[in-house]
């Protein structure tokens, strides 16, 4: 009996030893995202965007006769898991680049492996400022890019929007205690101080919490005119409804973490009049974006959100690089690093994407609002 179990364990180990990379010669794009676990919904968004792009390209016959494959790597937004899948991705020589990771902490944990082995990663969602300083090898080449703006840009933008477009003077901040929420909040509060917007209260909550009434009761006592919700939509929807319940009926605004049709579904009437910044508004983009939005709705039966849109473009950038320089990983990186001016940028559905020397993109931010149970472009945009 005992030796039987030993044999099974040994066989399992041998199986792992022998497991060798697949032999197919198609170039592949890795999607490193949470496909299970609490953040699985975000992973699903990114997966959907990449799937759409790759399916479209393949339907047109691929590029230079090559059809693309998508390989999925589940990392649960867990830094430990991300650090484990990273060498697995690196090992698969068919993979030309990675779209991911979704969460900044997972991205940061996986980066050392990508930088060391020279694979390019492009994240559609990781907005943490720290990535810009951690993505370079010894010679200063950046191996990770992102087609999404950073938290500090968005936070500042929202502070200005609150003051200039919404005309608020006193605001409260309610942030999620994670890298995204804190990064946004810090930028927002810093800018608010500069432009003379008073922040009357700051409260935090943790991911997965369901009851926000204590904090909201406290914020209500500070008497703000508006409340900045620095976090994601599932909690945001709860906050909106509970704010109404405790009688804190003030203007709400959030960042791209709110850009999901589920926010309106979950919050119902309480969502009405929420402003949010987003990198992607279909009506502001061109006809291609319209086609994408419709195709997305037809395929997944839900409205597109910025994560899917960004992931769609991220996959597009990788495919464009392969179309120009082939499947060599270093060349793909060099091609992307050379996309450093608006002229050389990638024209996608989320507008023009080009990178600075840290791999960060300068993307415009738009403002949407919830009106009549639907997202609508806000009347005032800030340029």
């Amino acid at each position: 009996m005992k030796s039987g179990w030993c044999k099974i364990a040994l066989a399992a180990m041998l199986l792992c030893l022998l497991a060798s990379p697949a032999l197919a010669a198609e170039p592949a794009i890795a999607v490193a995202a949470p496909l299970t676990g609490p953040a699985a919904a975000y992973g699903d968004n990114v997966k959907a965007g990449v799937d759409m792009k790759v399916a479209e390209v393949n339907a047109k016959g691929g590029v230079n006769g090559m059809k693309f494959k998508v390989e999925y790597f589940d990392e649960l937004c867990d830094p430990k898991e991300a650090a484990t899948v990273a060498p697995k991705i690196v090992r698969d020589k068919n993979i030309v680049g990675i779209v991911g990771h979704v969460c900044s902490s997972a991205h940061l944990a996986a980066l050392p492996a990508y930088v060391r082995s020279g694979v390019v990663a492009i994240s559609a969602t990781a907005t943490n400022v720290a990535i810009s300083a951690q993505n370079k090898d010894k010679s200063g080449k950046a191996w990770s890019f992102r087609d999404v703006y950073r938290d500090d840009f968005q936070g500042k933008f929202l502070a200005r929007y609150a003051k200039e477009a919404l005309g608020l003077a006193k605001v409260a901040v309610f942030y999620e205690n994670n890298d995204y929420g804190i990064g946004l909040k810090d930028a927002f509060v810093g800018e608010a101080k500069k432009i003379g917007l008073t922040v009357v209260g700051e409260e935090a909550y943790v991911k997965g919490a369901a009851d926000f009434t204590p904090q909201l009761t406290k914020l209500k006592a500070a008497g703000p005119q508006g409340i900045f919700l620095s976090g994601y939509y599932p909690e945001g929807a709860l906050i909106a409804t509970q704010a109404k319940k405790v009688g804190l009926d003030v203007l709400k605004f959030g960042a791209d973490g709110f850009d999901n049709a589920d926010y309106i579904k979950l919050a119902g009437e309480a969502a009405e009049g929420t402003y949010l910044s987003t990198p992607f508004i279909a009506s502001e983009a061109g006809p291609e974006a319209k086609a994408f939005v419709d195709a997305f709705k037809a395929k997944y039966n839900r409205d597109v959100d910025y994560m899917s849109a960004n992931a769609y473009d991220a996959a597009g950038i990788l495919i464009q690089a392969v179309a120009h320089v082939g499947v060599d990983r270093a060349k793909v990186r060099d091609f992307m690093a050379a996309m450093n001016t608006p002229e050389k940028g990638y024209k996608g559905i989320t507008g023009l994407t080009y990178f600075d020397e840290h791999g960060d993109a300068q993307k415009p931010a738009f403002v949407k609002m919830v009106k009549g149970g639907q997202f609508a472009t806000a009347p005032k945009q800030l340029k």
Binding site: E203, A209, D211, Q215, T217, A221, L238, T241, G268
Partner: protein
């Protein structure tokens, strides 16, 4: 503000208490920390919504149907996962419970998808959303009163079942001494399955109430709630049903007041600090049977 925080804490607390009762009853009869109980609570909410949207059941009927389904699920859990391990080391059953928890959570994720869903709001009676009482800045909605009421009725019913019925007597006998109970002609496996069914039904109600209260349900919701409820059960004295109720309310209120007056960042921290402090000074929980350290 204090009164409002108290009301918030109470609402949260009775929900913890409803889940905690399930933990504590199972613990009482077979000394197992049933970590899959948080998942039963989550599935209760999902069953209820599915019955409303797919089968068009009215709200109250759907609640009862969800309770029945979860009771069956509880029995199934016991029969499939825990019964074969009745005489195995205690930790083996604990690991099985953790395994079942992972399994059920991921099953729900595959069936219903991983994104948060709104509760079928159209089925919920409209009056529940209205404000029932308002005095000196304290809001109390009908829903909150409904939750408090349902919890109270459930607890009372549970008290009657445990103390006034034959099967309740059998449960208490089992909790004291399983072998002696069996010798008295009590069908041990039946009573244990009944305990699981009862606890799971209570968990299902808690799940539905939470889903309605927050208008949201998602497959990972059982995780945090389960842990908090387990903490409540221990706080009150694990194995003691009134203890679980008291523990849940204490934990809920501590959390709400902690978030309101200490720091919202240390909201859970306050809950755990209270827990540790209480246990250090009352080593068998608030209402637990005194367990004397043999040394």
């Amino acid at each position: 503000m204090f009164e409002q925080q108290l009301v918030n804490g109470l609402t949260l607390g009775v929900i913890y208490a409803l889940i905690a009762v399930g933990y504590t009853m199972v613990y009482g009869v077979i000394e197992l920390i049933n970590f899959a109980h948080g998942e039963v609570y989550m599935l209760g909410a999902f069953f209820c919504v599915t019955f409303i949207t797919a089968l068009g059941m009215p709200f109250y009927v759907a609640i009862v149907a969800a309770m029945l389904c979860c009771a069956l699920l509880g029995i199934l859990l016991d029969v499939v996962a825990y019964r074969p391990l009745r005489n195995a080391p205690r930790l083996a059953a604990l690991i099985t419970a953790i395994g079942m928890s992972i399994f059920l959570q991921n099953l729900a994720m595959i069936i219903w998808g991983s994104r948060a869903k709104p509760f079928a709001q159209e089925a919920v009676p409209a009056y529940l959303a209205e404000t029932a009482l308002e005095w000196s800045g304290v809001h109390l909605t009908w829903l909150q009163i409904f939750i408090l009421g349902v919890a109270l009725v459930m607890m009372l019913g549970l008290y009657l079942i445990i103390n006034k019925t034959r099967i309740g007597t059998a449960m208490r006998a089992l909790a004291q001494n399983k072998t002696a109970a069996a010798l008295m002609g009590i069908n041990v496996n039946f009573v244990i399955s009944f305990t699981f069914a009862l606890g799971s039904a209570m968990g299902a109600v808690a799940g539905v109430l939470v889903a309605v209260y927050y208008n949201t349900l998602y497959p990972t919701m059982g995780y945090v709630a389960g842990v908090k409820a387990f903490a409540s059960a221990v706080l009150g004295g694990i194995g003691s049903v009134p203890g679980a109720m008291v523990g849940g309310v204490v934990l809920g209120v501590a959390e709400a007041l902690g978030a309101g007056y200490v720091s919202s960042l240390y909201r859970d921290g306050v809950a755990y600090a209270v827990l540790i402090a209480v246990i250090i000074f009352r080593p068998s929980g608030i209402l637990g049977r005194a367990v004397v350290d043999k040394a």
